[in-house]
Amino acid sequence: MALALLHVMFSLAATTAADPTKGLTAIGRGIVYGGAAIGPGIGIGLVVGNAITAMARQPESAGTVRTTMFLGIAFTEALALFGFVLAFIISG
């Protein structure tokens, strides 16, 4: 289904006389950012979920856990942001 859609888009882009690579660039941007967001999405979910579990078990250590959680989020999020920047950098 998705492949067929891509094929239609590809042929549409190919038949457009003006600039056939322009649409493909847009699709590429979407794929790059979408792909880059999958892993960090799961990762941030794991980080925050486990931090909440830790805070619920030991509320007295919530401060330390929160700081470490933000650090973990920052490291994980970097990958998604690389994808975000890369999506801008791609130019047709």
């Binding site: 933000f70 650090l71 970097a78 942001l81 690389f82 920047v85 801008f88 130019s91």
Partner: protein, 254 residues
């Protein structure tokens, strides 16, 4: 070179300030404001008062709670008492990044200066130079290099794989990710706000689309609130990562 929303000037233009009165553009003006605001908070907040035990006044309260926050949440949490010498730099860094981020939601300005990557890159390079120099001074150049690329307790054959990864991640990815994290977060937030604001304006027409407008407006308000959190959080994360990197240079893993 025009990369969609990001205007990346050609390389010779980078050295030019840009246009505006006195050659200062909006980004530059915001940075001047951020630097002046940081200076102002600490100059006015730390003026000697006659034998006052209780802090008073907006500036003194801001300065004292800021220093207290950075000391307990950043320095003590990552470096311990050894890192107290870095407290002034980290506090100034935190306030400067926060002031240049918070302009994102100030009406009339509405632009986070850190959405252009010049200054984030400079700050990241400052951090890079700092943790390298501190590591070389504290551990000696040879053992600092050895400690940072060879993690302890790794079997010999695996080192073949681990050493290149560590080399890249410590000396290249660290400053680059610091820069990208700050810059891309602020740019993304700015783009979201711009999108919803222009959507509100476009939907505010004399036809049926005005029914959808309140939803867009609600999201605009909600995202503005969220961006306050983000601009604080990014300043905090930049500061705490600087502290973590310097801390890893002071205390190598055994």
């Amino acid at each position: 070179m025009n990369l969609l929303a990001v205007d990346v000037p050609p390389l010779p233009d980078v050295t030019i300030w840009g246009e505006g009165p006195g050659g200062i553009n909006k980004t530059g003006a915001i940075y001047v404001f951020a630097a002046l605001a940081t200076l102002l908070v600490f100059f006015l907040g730390t003026r000697k008062k006659k034998d006052e035990l209780v802090p008073s006044g907006l500036m003194q309260n801001t300065a004292e709670s800021g220093v207290g926050f950075v000391r307990s949440q950043v320095v003590m949490a990552t470096m311990g008492p050894d890192g107290m010498g870095y407290l002034p730099y980290l506090t100034a860094l935190f306030f400067f990044i926060f002031f240049s981020n918070i302009t994102e939601i100030i009406p009339g300005v509405q632009f986070p200066a850190n959405a252009r990557f010049g200054i984030p890159l400079t700050l990241a390079l400052a951090t890079w130079v700092m943790f390298n120099v501190v590591g070389m001074i504290k551990q000696g150049p040879g053992s600092y290099f050895k400690n940072s690329i060879i993690p302890p307790g790794v079997p010999k054959p695996i080192l073949l794989l681990v050493v290149p990864i560590e080399l890249v991640s410590v000396f290249i990815v660290r400053p680059f990710s610091l820069m990208v994290r700050l810059f891309a977060n602020m740019l993304a937030g700015h783009l979201i706000l711009v999108t919803f604001a222009t959507l509100c304006a476009a939907l505010f027409a004399k036809n049926v689309t005005i029914v959808i407008m309140p939803f867009s407006f609600f999201l605009l308000v909600a995202m503005t609130g969220f961006e306050i959190l983000v601009s604080f959080l990014q300043a905090f994360i930049f500061t705490i990562l600087t502290a973590v990197y310097i801390g890893s240079s002071i205390h190598p893993e055994h």
